[in-house]
Point group: C2
Chain length 215, copies 2
């Protein structure tokens, strides 16, 4: 499959490289083509890896991963272009986190709205799926780094797209339990897990943990 990775940070690198290993063609998109980090990633990931602008990548990919920082996601997706993304699935991995100096991390949108919803409202013809945002990027693509059973959540308005991405989470990345929380408004529930996630990471000294719902 042709896949777009939007963003050149650690999340984009980790997910993009895993997708290459799975045999897919992956274009990493940045604000402008020939971004040094995207170019380096493409150069070290073989023939099926390429790089371009956000728009190039969004045009190339059948499925798009939003791996940009939450604070710049809307802006990056505008550069990708509503028309380019129209009808495609956008998997939103980002969280609207801010780290103000001298105070604990906060969410820049929460409670009555979420980044997932903001993206869906800004691009109504894109099938926005919020998932994987509650785990570290290494765990996203290799859930067995956390032992035993644990859960990943999925939110989105398009049921067919959610079913397809649930299969991808299971078949490509190895997730065993995917909990469908409902429409994109439930993105606010999982984005709100980030503050406790960050607290637990500080407590445990590792990002290799995850939530499980026990019942």
């Amino acid at each position: 499959m042709r896949i777009a990775i939007l963003g050149t940070g650690m999340v984009g690198n980790t997910v993009g490289t895993k997708l290459i290993q799975l045999g897919h063609e992956v274009m990493m998109g940045a604000r402008a083509a020939n971004n040094p980090k995207a170019s380096e990633w493409a150069a070290t990931n073989g023939d099926r890896a390429s790089q371009g602008s956000f728009k190039d990548a969004a045009n190339f990919g059948e499925i798009l991963f939003n791996c940009t920082a939450g604070s710049v996601s809307i802006e990056a997706l505008k550069l990708a272009g509503a028309e380019t993304m129209k009808g495609k699935i956008l998997i939103d991995l980002a969280n609207p986190l801010d780290f103000p100096q001298g105070s604990p991390p906060i969410l820049t949108v929460s409670n009555t709205d979420s980044l997932g919803e903001q993206i869906q409202r800004a691009f109504p013809e894109v099938k926005v799926i919020k998932t994987l945002n509650t785990v570290n990027c290494e765990v996203m693509i290799n859930p067995s780094l956390v032992p035993n059973d644990h859960d990943i959540f999925i939110s989105g308005n398009d049921q067919e797209a959610k079913t397809k991405i649930t299969e991808i989470l299971k078949d490509w990345f190895g997730w065993k339990s995917v909990i469908d929380l409902g429409d994109i408004t439930s993105a606010r529930w999982t984005e709100q897990l980030l503050p406790i996630w960050l607290g637990l990471m500080n407590l445990y000294g590792t990002p290799r943990f995850n939530f499980k719902i026990v019942k």
Copy 2:
């Protein structure tokens, strides 16, 4: 031990009755003495159960449980009185939830503040401990209703009080895993679990589930 239950709802009833069963003396406090629900609870729970005003109960109890609705907790605690509660441990079980007509439940305080912090700021000489607010009241006092291992969180500024309440959670209620998240600012992390908790309750059709951190 002499214990105050502040609030006459389902949480106060459930926790108060469990404490009576454990052999403690429990006074249930309400806005005014002789509240019908508090009187009925006291009448059906034997000699060690009594009722009174919030102030009566706060005066009676060596440890206080805030079982009022989050929307009225500060007001109820003002009636209990800062001087009455001074130096005592207040276990805050409440959540700042609002259920606006026609829209999903929201938190009335979140992200940069929490009900736990508001209470601690309003009553600086009370040892506020936030815990048990992430489970249904039946699970609070009987965690074995949810099978296997799962976690409860605790937040508070006074380490000695947290140690004492951690022992109470384990010895009285049967909790096996109590995660100390840090000072009272971490109350915002657990209060923010309520929206996903409510979503999961709707999904599963039961409040008998809980979070576990897998690592």
